[in-house]
């Protein structure tokens, strides 16, 4: 699996608490990749948990709306994950005030999110950290769920899960109340918050602390009654935070269509078991109603790249057609173009890979 000389690190793109992300490319194909180098030395007790989770779950998931883990290799004491390179995330797009969202754009993003999430849930994996920051956007506009550092599979009956997951603003009330037994509904709440954020262009439920988060939620959606959410008062960390009246969503989302608000309210239901599932959400009339979701290639994109391109890439043999923000899907002629400009030695390698791909395609198609 490890084939180190096949990749060239190019530039540091970002640094997290437990990993550094580099941009690189596969030498053989010229495809841009992100290399996530996980700092192992720092941790006395071996690998960081989130790295293990990320590898464990991403290896099993392959879907257009989930980030693809291409390879894992180790160099020296480090563990390296090779991921698809995606140049922006939804948070950057939401914050870029020069972009305008049409209702169809929001619909398209949410549909892609639900599709990716449904795939995770179908494979019994909870993401547990959905937020605009973790929804990456490919150059062709496809949205991909990333960062499976907090993901886990569905718990067996009776097994506890931690409630300290999901970024606070996107955390559902049952986790804030300390529930240790929960299900896919926690991710749906996050998607609801993201949908609201896409419309408002600012985080919908932005609490300053966990306590304040509950208050913020109740202020926005009203304090739940025992009828609305049976048993919530018995949850481990339950504390009454005061009574707030229910205000209709329409008051805040004045421009949203009725279907949008219907889906939003179903994602933000207090009782987790009644909350809409990803599969049901994909069949919600919101997605079927006019306007149709925007074609991914037409979605607004960040004009600014994350970092300036290094010089050698411009005169190197990397194809310029594949990744520029203005270029839409490169499709099949991508490989053709590449063969023309790569050196003869690489050419043979690229050809062998292409032939292999063709072979699998033929085998699959009938």
């Amino acid at each position: 699996m490890t084939d180190i000389p096949n990749r060239a690190k190019e530039q540091k793109v970002g640094e997290g608490t437990y990993a550094v992300v580099y941009r690189g490319r596969e030498v053989s194909t010229g495809r841009r990749v992100a290399i996530k180098k996980i700092k192992v030395g720092q941790f006395k007790d071996g690998l960081d948990m989130s790295a293990i989770r990320e590898v464990k779950y991403l290896r099993e998931l392959k879907h257009p709306n989930v980030i693809e883990l291409l390879d894992v290799f180790s160099s020296k004491t480090n563990l390296n994950l090779v991921l698809e390179f995606l140049d922006s995330d939804l948070e950057m797009i939401i914050k870029d005030r020069s972009l305008v969202f049409l209702p169809a754009d929001i619909k398209s993003w949410i549909a892609m999110t639900f599709r990716g999430l449904e795939f995770c849930h179908r494979n019994f994996i909870l993401h547990r950290d959905l937020k605009p920051n973790n929804l990456l956007i490919a150059s062709d506009g496809q949205l991909k769920i990333a960062d499976f550092g907090l993901a886990r599979d569905f718990a067996d009956p009776g097994y506890k899960m931690t409630c300290q997951v999901i970024t606070r603003w996107y955390r559902p009330p049952e986790l804030l109340f300390g529930s240790r037994y929960y299900s896919s509904a926690v991710d749906i709440w996050s998607v609801g918050c993201i949908l609201a954020e896409l419309m408002l262009r600012t985080p919908y439920l932005a609490g300053e602390s966990d306590m304040d988060q509950l208050k913020t939620i109740f202020r926005a959606l009203g304090t739940p009654t025992e009828q609305e959410w049976p048993g919530h008062t018995k949850l481990p960390d339950y504390v009454p935070v005061g009574q707030f009246p229910k205000t209709p969503l329409r008051d805040l989302f004045t421009a949203a269509s009725a279907d949008t608000l219907s889906l939003l309210s179903k994602c933000l239901l207090y009782e987790p078991r009644k909350r809409i599932s990803a599969k049901e959400a994909l069949h919600h009339p919101y997605f079927i109603a006019i306007p149709h979701p925007s074609h991914p290639s037409k979605l607004p994109k960040c004009s600014t790249q994350m970092a300036p391109r290094p010089l050698e890439e411009v005169d190197g043999n990397v194809d310029m057609a594949s990744t520029g923000p203005g270029v839409k899907a490169a499709g099949p002629n991508k490989s053709k173009l590449k063969r023309k400009i790569t050196s003869p030695m690489e050419e043979s390698r690229a050809r062998s890979i292409a032939r292999k791909l063709d072979f699998t395609k033929q085998a699959n198609s009938p």
Binding site: A155, P157, F287, I290, P293, T360
Partner: protein
């Protein structure tokens, strides 16, 4: 009514071409200004967006009733009846002052009233009629695409509206059509008025946006004027300074001139830079900019790839859906016994679903059933999707 028709031509009196000239003063004095009364009497007609009615006017105009034409009566004004026949104002006065009367055109028995005449906008009365009918229909039938569940029903609705308009324009089954309109009106009164409000709101928003843009333009112009004034003042001062310096100092005159020139150049470039920055700020400051962005965005959208309707799943979901079915009553397994009893109710409150665990167990059991066994490395690449229960190749 005080308007007295101009029968000059009937009495054999010659009316000169410039009818309102001195020789014609007699007719004029007895005939009050038509324009003054007409605006109050004859409303309606086709209005352009600014609210004005532009009237069709031709030198060949002739009243089909009295055969008076523009040569005989330069003030001839033809108006259109509700049955789309034109006649001149004097005929209207003559025929309808005493109350409703039938249309004087042969074979048209429609009873007309004086107030129901309207100015003519289009040369062709067919167009006139069509525009009026369509205007009326559009007011009643103002449903929008988003009021319908799917494209098909919207298209059906549009077709129906088109049928009604066609019938009215061409006078086919007018009565039946009218009853159809009435029925529709009764059924959709609420939605119609809602859409009317929406349209008004949109028009208002558009107006506001235009106002905003105008104000921004004005602000920019004022800023520019101010800048120019400043520049002029500065140049004057500089010249004065230079003259003073040349007068008083002992240095070489050439050097002094060169120095002041370079200083001036520096200043002007600094000014240009700051004004650029300013205009950028001004542009981003207001919602007008946002509106502009929205406009370019919608324009861009139109000439690109079409939006496809939503498809819930783009992968082979259903391939795995019919492999098994959960028993509706659930399963009595010992592992989930406590969870199912859920004495404290925390499972339910937290949203835990034991069904998901069962589903997972069942899927794990059956998903690999139809997978071909692997035999050797050669076949591995042929069967990428079938090598496990959880990995699902979805491409």
């Amino acid at each position: 009514m005080s308007t007295k028709p101009n029968y000059g031509w009937l009495q054999g009196r010659t009316v000169k071409k410039g009818g309102h000239a001195s020789s014609n003063s007699h007719t004029r004095s007895t005939t009050p200004q038509i324009q003054s009364t007409s605006s109050t009497i004859f409303g309606g007609g086709i209005k352009d967006p600014s609210g004005r009615t532009s009237e069709y006017f031709s030198m060949d105009d002739q009243c089909p009733v009295c055969k008076s034409d523009r040569y005989l009566n330069p003030k001839l004004r033809l108006l259109v009846s509700t049955c789309y026949h034109k006649m001149c104002e004097s005929c209207i006065d003559r025929l309808f002052t005493l109350g409703p009367a039938p249309c004087p055109i042969p074979n048209c028995k429609v009873v007309l009233r004086k107030l129901a005449f309207s100015p003519q906008t289009f040369e062709d009365l067919g167009v006139e009629k069509e525009v009026a009918v369509r205007r009326r229909i559009a007011k009643e039938f103002n449903k929008r695409a988003e009021d319908f569940d799917d494209l098909r029903s919207y298209n059906d609705y549009l077709e129906e509206v088109e049928n009604i308009a066609f019938n009215l324009i061409n006078g086919i089954d007018v009565e039946a059509t009218e009853t159809r309109i009435k029925a529709y009106k009764a059924a959709n009164a609420a939605l119609t008025s809602l859409n009317l409000q929406r349209e008004e709101a949109e028009a208002l928003a558009l107006k506001e946006q235009e106002e905003l843009e105008r104000r921004e333009r004005e602000a920019r112009a004022a800023q520019l004027a101010q800048q120019e004034q400043q520049e002029r003042d500065e140049r004057l001062r500089e010249e004065q300074e230079l003259i003073n310096k040349l007068e008083t100092s002992q240095k070489d005159a050439h050097k002094i001139v060169a120095k002041s020139r370079s200083a001036a150049a520096k200043r002007s470039s600094a000014r240009a830079a700051s004004s650029n920055a300013n205009s950028g700020l001004l542009g981003m400051a207001f919602g007008a900019d946002y509106a502009k962005l929205l406009k370019t965005r919608t324009n861009k959208v139109n000439n690109n790839v079409p939006d496809e309707p939503h498809v819930p799943f783009q992968d082979n979901y259903y391939a795995y859906d019919d492999l098994f079915r959960l028993l509706p009553g659930g399963y009595n397994d010992i592992f989930s016994d406590a969870v199912r009893k859920d004495r404290e109710g925390i499972m339910r409150a937290g949203g835990y679903r034991v069904e998901e665990a069962w589903q997972r167990a069942l899927l794990s059991a059956v998903a690999g059933l139809d997978a071909m066994p692997l035999s050797g490395l050669e076949t591995e690449s042929i069967l990428p999707a079938n090598d496990g229960d959880v990995v699902m190749n979805s491409v």
